[in-house]
């Protein structure tokens, strides 16, 4: 197994300096990511869990190069992503993708599903409209959507359908690594299971590496091989399913696992 992504001593600090703080001569620094290091093996599925504000979203944004880290580095296949420019950056954009939490918000409300997907192909070099249409159709088949959704705008689609479009859009560029940020938590239970199955199948069929960001330990236990627990910008613990759910001695991990609202059917 080779590692696809390596994060080394990453720090992301946000300066909070409102007028009031300046008057008090205070300079508040929030350490959103505090000395985080880990690596991801090719083809694995990592669960990134923690409560809101623990830095898991900031971390995924840093990996996607949407925000600039304060210090530290992120290597994708041994290349430092901070140093990417021009075509090599464009290539990185093709290989690392994201699936968002809010299915509706991640789609431009003014574009139809077909336009959303076609645009990706257009930007990535498919100039012939007929070819793009064929590619869009095969994508829709892949994520289990019927072809008649192409003419509909997100507002006319259900949450589950929107999320499938979002997944299709990420798959359009044939990525190696997908970061799924709470990809199923905004959906209803019966739809959530469908989306989790889809992600699971896609991962196996396409050999994707996946980072699954979630606060839902149940989902992570089902989907991931390896779990990273974060709290206050730091990695608290990393381990396999058994380690985290059964053998952990870390108090924070334990409190998370114990708060998990499982179905207590054994009481019957």
């Amino acid at each position: 197994m080779t590692e696809i992504l390596k994060v080394e001593n990453l720090n992301v600090h946000f300066k909070r300096s409102s007028l009031l703080d300046l008057m008090r001569r205070k300079k508040l620094v929030t350490k959103a990511i505090d000395a985080v290091s880990f690596e991801v093996e090719r083809g694995s599925c990592i669960g990134l869990v923690g409560e809101s504000g623990c830095g898991k979203s900031t971390l995924s944004k840093a990996i996607l190069r949407l925000i600039k880290p304060t210090s530290g580095s992120i290597f994708f296949e041994n290349g430092n992503i901070q140093e990417l420019k021009g075509t090599s950056l464009f290539d990185y954009r093709r290989r690392v993708q994201m699936i968002f939490q809010d299915p509706l918000g991640s789609l431009n409300p003014r574009l139809t599903a077909g336009e959303v997907l076609e645009e990706v192909f257009y930007v990535h070099g498919v100039r012939k409209s007929a070819n793009r249409k064929i590619l869009v159709h095969s994508l829709l088949d892949k994520v289990g959507l019927s072809r008649d959704v192409v003419d509909r705008r997100p507002g006319a689609l259900s949450g589950g359908q929107c999320q499938r479009i979002g997944i299709a859009r990420a798959l359009a560029v044939d990525p190696d690594l997908i970061i799924a940020d709470e990809a199923a938590s905004a959906l209803d239970v019966s739809i959530q299971a469908q989306i989790l199955n889809l992600l699971r199948d896609l991962r196996h069929d396409m050999g994707l590496t996946m980072i699954f960001v979630s606060h839902d330990l149940g989902v992570v236990r089902y989907l991931c091989d390896d779990i990273i627990v974060m709290n206050r910008g730091q990695i608290v613990e990393r381990g396999g399913i058994d380690q985290i759910f059964d053998k952990s001695t870390n108090p924070y991990t334990r409190s998370l696992v114990e708060s998990m609202p499982g179905l207590h059917r054994q009481d019957y």
Binding site: V189, G218, L263
Partner: protein
């Protein structure tokens, strides 16, 4: 002083230009004193709308088309729903997003004390003492100091505690909690659930807990009603429902919980999606997604909720067969 709440055949209607739609149909529920009842359903299943109807805060476009809401008073006599004020004074509601229900320009303590002054005629000082007492009750530490703090200093979990305190201010008999923990982290969720349990044990208040999370139901609720497409499809005690569901939808929901799934198999998911309110299938509403459907399920009107035992009711035509099939989790 405890009260029993009975909701009988409640139907809520919304008149739209393209005809009436019914977000809640023939909703019946009875809540014993001190009981915690779970209402489970997906978004749009009508669980919130039904409870809004009970509290009398339906959106302007919606109204109660039929049904009655009865709440017993101190003498154990039922007061009919025509006496709105009786219901309003004795049923309180808390919501999913506490931030939008707190006035950002008023200290949290005042927001709890104000209704006390208004409804119970307490003086400013009495109200303050009473509010601090309520804060203690809902587990806000250092209540006296926190009284003058403004909402933005509070975390989501603390705000929810404030809302619970405000809801308890007028000594309601029933508390309706509409997904109060959905926006919160799991550790905070656990604390709030424990708080609700403790309040029930201490005060004997009845709680109706709206959620989409069966895990929460299994931790908190005594009984549970499952809603699908505006109708209750199954009501049972929580233990019975989770272990031996008698409606294919309840079964599907339980099966599709990732917590209980085996990693090496696909999650047993329910295919398709819930129908829209203006495009309900005829017959059983779950029919298009149901693996147990037979010809008889296509009857013109949805199958009614029937009593299957003293404490269970079910709206599946085949519940008897499903029972003998001995549904389990694989």
């Amino acid at each position: 002083m405890m009260s029993k709440l009975i909701i009988r055949d409640l139907t809520v209607e919304i008149v739209t230009p393209s005809g009436p739609i019914f977000p809640v149909e023939q909703f019946s529920l009875s809540v014993e004193p001190g009981e915690i009842v779970g209402l489970v359903g997906e978004s749009g299943s009508g669980k919130t709308m039904a409870m809004r109807a009970v509290v009398g805060i339906l959106p302007r476009s919606a109204h109660i088309a039929s049904g009655e809401i009865l709440l017993s008073d101190a003498d154990n006599a039922f007061v009919p729903s025509s006496q709105q004020s009786h219901l309003r004074h004795n049923i309180a509601m808390i919501f999913q997003n506490p931030t939008s229900y707190l006035d950002p320009l008023m200290s949290v303590g005042k927001q709890v004390a104000e209704p006390l002054r208004l409804h119970q005629g307490l003086t400013r000082k009495e109200a303050r003492t009473e509010a601090i007492e309520l804060f203690r009750k809902v587990g806000i530490h250092d209540a006296e100091r926190q009284f003058d703090v403004y909402p933005h200093h509070f975390s989501g979990g603390m705000k929810q505690r404030v809302l619970i305190a405000a809801a308890l201010a007028c000594n309601p008999k029933v508390l309706i909690a509409d997904e109060p923990t959905t926006a919160l982290d799991v550790t905070i969720q656990k604390q709030i659930l424990e708080l609700l349990c403790r309040l029930r044990d201490e005060t004997g208040i009845s709680i109706i807990f709206i959620t989409h999370d069966l895990g929460v139901v299994s931790q908190l609720c005594d009984t549970v009603s499952v809603l699908y497409a505006a109708r209750i499809v199954e009501s049972a005690s929580t233990i019975e429902l989770l272990n031996a569901p008698l409606h294919p939808y309840s079964l599907g929901l339980i099966r599709s919980q990732p917590e209980s799934a085996q990693r090496d198999r696909p999650l047993p998911s329910i295919p398709g999606q819930p129908p829209a309110l203006n495009a309900m299938p005829s017959g059983c509403r779950f029919l298009p997604r149901c693996e147990f459907a037979i010809q008889a399920c296509k009857q013109p009107s949805p199958p009614p909720l029937v009593q299957t035992s003293a404490v269970r009711s079910n709206a599946c035509l085949r519940w008897r067969e499903l029972q003998t099939l001995g549904l389990n989790y694989d």
